[in-house]
Symmetry: C2
Subunit: 201 residues, 2 copies
Amino acid sequence: MKVYYAPDTRAVRTVWLLNELGLDYELERFKLGEKAMRSPDYLAVNPNGRVPTLDDGEVRMSESTAIAQYLVARYGDGSLGRAPDSPEFPAYLQWLHYAEGMIMPPINAYVVETILLPPERRSETHADRALRLLNRTLAPVEARLEGRDYLLDSFSAADTITGHACIMSEKFGVDFSDKPNLAAYNERLLARPALKAAWDA
Amino acid sequence: MKVYYAPDTRAVRTVWLLNELGLDYELERFKLGEKAMRSPDYLAVNPNGRVPTLDDGEVRMSESTAIAQYLVARYGDGSLGRAPDSPEFPAYLQWLHYAEGMIMPPINAYVVETILLPPERRSETHADRALRLLNRTLAPVEARLEGRDYLLDSFSAADTITGHACIMSEKFGVDFSDKPNLAAYNERLLARPALKAAWDA
């Protein structure tokens, strides 16, 4: 398998999960926002010029949550996913999708307004609004983690997706002082060797 | 089952799929943006004040793509999903997730800048940027639909999610004159009785 990767992007999720699953892969490395991600060669791989992209033989996928479900179904032993007959199946799906549905849109907006746009085109109003919305979308995660170490009863692929979004939120400056469960959760995730290795890949 | 619904929202996806599956449900209706969606009663159901929320006995879910996977797995006969051993499984996941990963973030931004914010706080610059990005994220869908009636070889739950995002894109004014496959696809979807009924629910 091959992963097109850049640090501080959703590609970390894919490498993290591959490490948790103990699978072999090679990386093609980019830096976030560098021109090579918009080269004709890479646009032929991923027409949106985003990472991750996963190549697994003939299979090519680029949505990190889709990739997580694919890897768990095809290569997992069942422990990182939840099967349809599991009582945790609805919560597994809900938290697997929560990141892209709720947390990432304000993160995307914040990154655009603080990193991707040239300084003269950035809007502080929009950056602040994104950060406030991001803060609100984390409240249900904080509540969910009351009395829990992970989003489900044990670590799952949902943590590699929504957990990653929680870590990005803290990194981008969301106030975590009123989110003790999330602060402890992020620390717990960052202590996992599979994530450490993905972060430094 | 009960669906918390508002027209012109992701709740249409849920009702559409329920109709395709021939399942019974009741609706609790809101109007998009109305105060009742921020009432303490509804915030107790969905802390983000969004629709859809699905209640199925003890199960409560609110991410429309998660709900689609749940309904297909628990109530489908297999025809609207793709099992892990299907050759279409990777494409099924990719297109199921493409809407929230790529198409909806610019739609969200556009709706904020043109509908949700009070007029004096709207930014034409941001609305235009969202529309340009939205246009670009549709290009891979247009390419995918070359020679295909649906995102996979036959209609699937992925069409109720990414197809709905394509219909919303056209509704919000994306130029479809250079997207013949998408224009025909939207028409094809809108002709389905299950979607017609969801739209007018």
